[in-house]
Symmetry: C2
Subunit: 287 residues, 2 copies
């Protein structure tokens, strides 16, 4: 998906948020913001939005001398999500269709927009989870995904954010046997995306094979991933891609990709053909 | 009021909106956005937000070769507000305290955020008007304003937006005698701020003396106003300043200024000490 001019505004806001997570010093926040504005002013808008995000977040980390602005937020969200795990596990076990419930919760993990704010309101999280179990899926390719998962000999699951990986773990536990699943995390920190550290912290590595995609881009920009990851991507039967950034970077990719996400911004909702707030299990049939 | 880094994000969004009002051509919108980003990246953040807005909107008009992106929107809002005029006039006449009702409606004219979107929803406007008549004033210096207006021999009323001036007209008609009132509009178009053209189009010039402040800045940046306007400002007994931009530029000004506005952004709400959405009649007592 190509970037829209709206993505520029959103990216500037994201960078200001990142700078504030990094430091309380206004003068450093200002320095980051100015450099980001300058960088974006001459950046190509031909690529997907995560490609632009990659570039500015690299810049921020450079200014921060490799500090990770999102480190604390990610740790907090991992912890909170882990506290929810037992209760969510019960919900899945007790439901008439555990796979559907797990898919809905995996999307809920994406809805609880851990990227948006450091202020985690537990009531909001509970509300989002309850909603996700009731809200209709605006695009529902779950029957096809269910079938494809059953038939696949190998599944590559592309993770999204820290915290959210706990919700992914619940889905993976339903997508048995875990032996055929590989879970991909980012190679380096970017925004609040999950890395190997988060996979370890949330116990995901004990449930499924976890690999790094070798990249520091949000989503999955294939040409920036490691050759090894590119081979996995090519050779796997089925890909489950979580979250907006994976949609933005892979919406033109192979037919074996299923997207699980909530449309959180108007640009992506328009591209998908749904409303902001919609939950979707999306599959793009080619030809 | 000094700019906050949040104002930068808001300004980038405003410029994208302006570029879209100006043209449907994405390449021109992109050109404007890139130049705005470059300009802001090296701009002083020491001034008030309207000072920054002034600079980028000048830049946009330059790229647009003096075209006014907001021309059509302003004409539309003047027309819609004029259609409401008779009904609002009746509301004031029939109310137990016509001055208070007129003040509330003047603030409502500012609430109906003509700056925010070109999509004017008539139901929303009606709802805003009804709300404005019921909602408590979070800061209520109306008794003092009422007294000051009675005692003043000259009142300078600083207008804000096109469309909104119709609501100001209603208040001016209650602040009799009109002979002692002077209404100030912008010297040149900037965003959707009212200029002499709007004052004429909405019949304001038939009710009160209307003068230009000689400036193309939002709000009232005194040092950029004409010497003549500066003298009026200095010599008048009482100043009624409408809207956020006037607050941003005059919050440190003389004690004779009363601000009528709705706090529409968190930065201004924090500065005032109220909540977003609050209506205020504000007066800063010094010492």
């Amino acid at each position: 998906m190509q970037a829209y001019l709206d993505c520029v505004v959103c990216l500037v806001r994201q960078c200001l948020d990142a700078s504030r997570m990094l430091t309380d010093k206004i003068e450093i926040q200002e320095k980051i913001l100015r450099q980001v504005l300058l960088e974006i002013s001459s950046m190509s808008f031909e690529q997907s939005p995560p490609y632009m995000a990659l570039k500015v977040h690299r810049l921020i980390r450079e200014i921060a001398r490799d500090g990770d602005p999102y480190k604390e937020v990610k740790e907090l969200f991992n912890r909170v999500a882990l506290e929810l795990y037992p209760e969510l596990k019960e919900k899945i076990k007790g439901s008439p269709d555990p796979l559907e419930t797990a898919v809905r919760l995996a999307i809920a993990g994406n809805i609880i927009d851990f990227a948006v704010s450091g202020n985690l309101d537990r009531n909001e999280v509970e509300k989002t989870i309850i909603n996700s179990l009731q809200q209709p899926l605006a695009i529902n390719k779950l029957p096809q995904l269910r079938e494809a998962a059953r038939e696949a000999t190998s599944i590559l699951y592309l993770g999204d954010n820290a915290g959210e990986v706990v919700f992914d773990r619940l889905l993976i536990e339903e997508l048995q046997p875990a032996a055929k699943i590989t879970f991909a995390v980012k190679g380096h920190p970017v925004i609040n995306d999950a890395t190997m550290e988060d996979a370890v912290a949330t116990g995901l590595t004990q449930v499924v094979k976890v690999v790094s995609n070798g990249s520091d881009a949000p989503g999955t920009i294939l040409e920036l991933c490691s050759p090894e990851f590119q081979r996995w991507f090519k050779n796997t039967d089925l890909i489950i891609a979580k979250g907006q950034a994976n949609y933005e970077t892979l919406s033109e990719a192979a037919e074996k990709v299923y997207f699980l996400l909530m449309a959180k911004c108007p640009v992506i909702a328009r591209d998908i053909g749904c409303q902001v707030g919609d939950m979707v299990v999306l599959h793009k049939n080619r030809g």
